[in-house]
Symmetry: C2
Subunit: 130 residues, 2 copies
């Protein structure tokens, strides 16, 4: 991403939120940044992924799927372990799928959710390099 030096006005609740970037070194009066910071857009994307995981039920669902044979589990086998209603489990699985952590494949009447390889690692990696 490109650096855009922006004179940040006061809190004029305008919509220019994407333009906030790191401070150029010459204007280092207050906070000398030694590295580049995450861009607002990247933070938004990353937060969305983390939010999909930041739920105890969804963490358990991912864990059960990951621990299942072939890293794949049927919905009917996920309802009982988490102890919630079928629509709720379906909702959580949808959130995880839309976030890229699970993938759905239907076989007959059953829907199987499998772990997307590398999805969890791809989310963990930016954390250590933040």
């Amino acid at each position: 991403m490109t650096l855009t030096d922006v004179t940040i006005t006061s809190r004029d609740e305008a919509t220019s939120r994407e333009a906030v970037t790191i401070v150029s070194p010459d204007a280092a009066c207050c906070a000398p940044l030694t590295r580049e910071t995450i861009s607002p857009a990247d933070a938004e994307v990353f937060a969305r992924r983390l939010k999909a995981l930041a739920d105890p039920v969804r963490l358990r669902l991912v864990s059960i799927v990951a621990a299942s044979d072939g890293q794949e589990a049927c919905v009917c086998d996920l309802i009982e372990p988490v102890g919630l209603s079928q629509p709720t489990v379906s909702h959580h699985l949808k959130v995880l799928t839309e976030a890229g952590f699970l993938a759905r494949s239907k076989r007959g009447t059953w829907a199987y959710y499998r772990l997307v390889p590398g999805a969890l690692d791809a989310t963990a990696a930016p954390l250590v390099s933040i």
Copy 2:
């Protein structure tokens, strides 16, 4: 970790009326777990930590602090970059501090927030081993 009661008893008796379901000889009818799954309590704790990070503003705050000299930044230097009100920034910093990602130290009138070493890595680690 403790192994929660993984009753792998299938719900086979549900269809015991007259339909003799043909079960494949490999007996992999439902969900054979090959590994241990996360406990509900651990999922709750982990989800709480992830939730503290799953916000674009907080991710940017952590990033700015991490990129600052000495991995430490004053509140007054964090308000402008994120473009939000001072109470809101203070709120986010509190959330991050209570979650163990930041630590606060007051010097004079100013409050400095610094990165807690290893906190991010400790959160990223369980993700890859889920």
